[in-house]
Symmetry: none
Subunit: 90 residues, 4 copies
């Protein structure tokens, strides 16, 4: 099969689809997903290092979560928890 015939320079279309452009989109997304995966790996490494240095990873994650949340949200969550605990006599 000759690509010269089936892939005109201006861009082939298959079933009305601009195939080159579709291909480009897919490949760019796949590339970014790889990067994302690599970053996830880096994060895991840091936690591993932290553990090796004697830190408690669970607590570090709790800290990260606190820093992500707005202080007001933290406050409200704690307040609500206290209310429920009180209601249960805890």
């Amino acid at each position: 099969m000759s690509d010269v015939l089936t892939r005109p320079q201006e861009g082939e279309t298959v079933g009305g689809i601009a195939a080159d452009r579709l291909r480009s989109i897919i490949e760019r997304v796949e590339r970014l997903e790889e990067e994302r995966k690599a970053i996830a790996g880096d994060i895991k490494e840091i936690f591993s290092e932290a553990k090796g240095a004697g830190f408690d990873v669970r607590t570090i994650k709790a800290i990260l979560k606190l820093r992500r949340l707005e202080p007001a949200q933290v406050e409200e969550a704690e307040t609500l928890l206290d209310i429920y605990k009180r209601a249960l006599g805890m």
Copy 2:
């Protein structure tokens, strides 16, 4: 095909495997997994009901987690969190 021939009362073996027993094991596990799934559904229903009654489901889950943990563990986790927060000047 006649099971009378292929499944002797004493238990067929296929490739040296006690097939009946294997079948039994698999079916029992599958049955239990269904039950487990049903229970998960029941729990979801309760949370749904709670939400409908105006409770904050997230907080309820926090309560459940606290009750699951030993009080000593809760204490220690909080202490550790405080130490880390202090170390970070939070």
Copy 3:
């Protein structure tokens, strides 16, 4: 302690919370979680029995997974069909 005083028939409220209902929710969930745990134990027992009978537990789990996946694959096929239909504008 007199519940007559502290728990009115209409339901006590603590800090605006319907404490009895909250308690009920929590306890029901905890009960179900126990059941779920018990079932997990039953499953483990079966695997233990299987191992004792000379079966390879890893393989059995692989089989269970395959049987679980089969319905999903049927769906997957349907999804694929949908994709192609969409691509063809049907």
Copy 4:
């Protein structure tokens, strides 16, 4: 504030914690999480562009999923082969 006094070269400790190292860990993770978020944004942009060009985003995502699954299915086939080989005592 004088870091000379509060942060000895060997590293300050707060409550027995190597605060600098903890800070470093937290900040590196936060940095990576930002990168991850940025990548997610890039992916969204591409989908947005695709949509603007007349592509069906849902279908593109389905294709990406299929391409992701393919390697997994290769592995799955090997697993299945192993199972059968085992069942045959090979």
